[in-house]
Symmetry: C2
């Protein structure tokens, strides 16, 4: 899984001969929000590599994963389930529908709702791409010592659960 290219060895601000001020360097690397943004970008990059065939994105796969379990969900419930904003979710669903991976129908019970249903093609794709998704997850965590991974996941879950209301897309 991914031979480390160490020449790329990424710390910022080791700029071209300008004697990259160590103070500033340490500064960015001591901001958790900054590091989380960077790690998120890396995950998106790893995911894109693993899903290069399909062009599918992490959020699209998350939505399809959820839909593979639930028969039908309205757009709002689905968006909450994957932790995205309602309008972002609607956009993602639109793109999934364009690829015929889901179908949207008006709910007969509540005509405000659009029910989203996964198609057979969508269900097949979720199943087929699951190893690719797991590879992206594994590669992300690979640099951590195995015994540290559980701790890291627990830390993430703690921070998310406690700060959930601060997010613009609080989950349910």
């Amino acid at each position: 899984m991914s031979e480390r290219i160490e020449s790329a060895g990424g710390k910022p601000l080791l700029l071209n001969g300008m004697e990259g001020d160590e103070k500033q360097h340490d500064d960015l690397w001591n901001r958790p929000g900054y590091l989380v943004r960077r790690l998120h970008q890396i995950h998106v990059g790893l995911f894109a590599e693993e899903f290069a065939d399909t062009g599918m994105t992490p959020v699209q796969y998350a939505m399809l994963s959820v839909l593979a379990v639930h028969n039908a969900l309205d757009q709002l419930s689905l968006s909450k389930a994957v932790g995205v904003d309602r309008t972002s979710g609607a956009d993602v669903i639109k793109r999934l529908a364009r690829q015929d991976l889901v179908v949207r129908t008006k709910s007969p019970e509540d005509r405000r709702m659009k029910l989203v249903v996964i198609t057979p093609a969508g269900a097949t794709l979720v199943r087929q791409m699951r190893p690719a998704m797991e590879a992206a997850q594994s590669r992300l965590m690979a640099p951590l010592a195995p015994e540290d991974r559980k701790f890291f996941m627990d830390a993430l879950r703690q921070m998310i659960e406690a700060n959930n209301s601060a997010s613009r897309a609080p989950m349910s």
Copy 2:
């Protein structure tokens, strides 16, 4: 460590009466990439709260922080320094320029380059908003037991450095 707030308890898929399938629930919450995306969203939300006055974003503040230390940087070096793609960086710089926080000039030595320089207004703003930035960082980490925070930061740095080349915006 960290009393779980179970009322906010943002777990997905505890949907309206549809008996939120625990299997699926556990699934998303066991994907580190998913959790990192969620935590990133939360940080952006916290940051937006702390910077409500100015409307400044995390990336904009990171860029200004870097510029406050270096006299002048071309757009590519600046983008690499904050770990964003060249074209994303150019967009951010454009918005900073629109608010008169930076100025762009053609480099006399290499006329391909546009040098970005922070203005006095920009430098003042960085200094003034630093407590807000630090508040956002603190709030993000607050749910972790203090003794766990260093571990978490180290884990982030490990994963970022080792996976840096996989990111679409590898840092210098």
